[in-house]
Symmetry: C2
Subunit: 287 residues, 2 copies
């Protein structure tokens, strides 16, 4: 397990490739916009012109793409991964995506003698950079075991969640919590502003007790400063919540807080704010 | 500042009195149900039969009561605190209560030469026991300074938030965050149950990243175990959220997630579940 093809070189993917290279893996990279892949040449990555080139003779193929429709094309098209992967290769989709799609990739891969894992991550750009990502993995447990060294090069909290799709489901659970927590901080800050209370002092007061959260400590100060630079894009958050809500609909369960938060962020995406960070939700509350 | 009258000996109040006694304060106690006060005799507290007795010759009077209507009676009635407090005494209401009521106590106390502070706490029964409460204080800053030793006997994160009512407002902000976070964990667990994913493994996966919160780590496992023993009563949470929403109405702001969470918990209180812990919200989601 030394040779890896990595497809999708965004902010996250670039850091993950660097960490794989640091741990001694040979990594070929492919990206639709070639320039982003080329930036990794000086780190030792081999830049390829096609998916087929990128995955040739590889032990494992990792994808870190964007939206489910892109994943479908990359995996299922004639020039895609499943049609062209070498026998016995491990296919690891680390994109946050639909559990149903993860199941389909698993099945189609299996039919061709390939082993697929869904392995979305949490921890953002900083976690990707510092190799401290949480990685939540679904698929066959022996495939999970076989890919341990790969995961360890990129993350810290690496957990086997169950069969194909389980990694994506846990990522959805993660996003459900993030949705509520982000909005909770936002509403607390809005409350303080309306009442003439200093919200920054409030955040420092509450971050040690029952209200403590990563969102209070990290997104709270950004909300107070109206700093909307993206750590995590609204457009990606909307995508994730939409997937979670579709799964809920399939199972006929209702998550009213998630629905509410989704509707707020969707309005923001509709009004061209999808490129802002999720903390920009505060602008929907301020007068 | 050595002599304290303490009114309201519930789970929180009892621990707070013990910590004051440990730090060398003389404490007289009064409780409507006398037996609860008597339990503190062996710790060195003097048990009194009336508010008037309890606050006689005291430097400071602390209240830790229940609902705003009880606070009104304890402060404003003929046999209450303001009519009977010794000159120059500090009056510290540590109950979570209405900011408007805190302002009224402050004004009426001031008219009689008394200094009132609103100083609600966060950290629950464990924080009260271990003297690690967060204490959020509103009122005059010189009164806050004068009462430092008292606060330090009971808490760790002691913050001056601003004028009278500001302590209560920050506590409301705290509860707004708690409302969202508790429900977020609940929805994530419900999601996992519906999808056939182990919720306990999910919690361990997400508690290190952007979804991390006190609620995930502390109330999450209780939700998974259906352990509804109260750390924090639903009935008190409903009271707090109601106060926050009334303040929002006064200022004409809307907090949709808080409104949604309030409606869920209010239904639970209406169906006689007010004595359960807040984590019991999971029972509203499970089928």
């Amino acid at each position: 397990m030394k040779n890896i093809g990595f497809i999708g070189i965004g902010v996250m993917g670039a850091s993950m490739v660097r960490n794989l290279l640091k741990q001694g893996f040979s990594v070929s990279v492919y990206n639709r916009t070639r320039a982003k892949a080329e930036a990794l040449q000086k780190d030792g990555a081999v830049v390829c012109d096609s998916i087929k080139d990128c995955i040739q003779n590889k032990d494992a193929v990792i994808t870190m793409i964007g939206y489910p429709k892109d994943i479908e094309e990359v995996y299922f098209s004639d020039h895609g991964i499943i049609a062209n992967a070498p026998q016995h290769a491990y296919l690891i989709d680390m994109t946050t995506s639909s559990p149903k799609l993860a199941e389909r990739i698993y099945e189609e891969a299996k039919a061709k003698g390939l082993k697929a894992l869904d392995a979305p991550v949490s921890g953002g750009d900083i976690g990707a950079k510092n190799a401290t990502l949480a990685i939540m993995v679904g698929g066959d447990e022996d495939a999970f075991d076989a890919c341990q060294d790969i995961f360890k090069a990129m993350g810290k909290n690496i957990v086997y969640e169950g069969k194909a799709g389980a990694g994506q489901h846990v990522k959805m659970a993660n996003q459900i919590v993030v949705a509520a927590n982000t909005t909770g901080v936002c509403e607390a800050i809005s409350y303080c502003k309306a009442m003439g209370i200093d919200p920054e002092t409030m955040l420092k007061t509450i971050e040690t007790g029952a209200a403590a959260s990563w969102q209070v400590s990290n997104n709270g100060p950004k909300m107070c400063a109206n700093d909307f630079a993206p750590g995590f894009f609204i457009k990606h958050f909307v995508k994730d919540m939409k997937i979670a809500l579709e799964e809920c609909q399939n199972k006929n369960i209702q998550l009213p807080v998630l629905e509410k938060v989704y509707s707020i962020y969707q309005e923001m995406e509709d009004s061209k704010q999808g490129e802002l960070g999720t903390q920009a939700i505060i602008s929907k509350y301020s007068k």
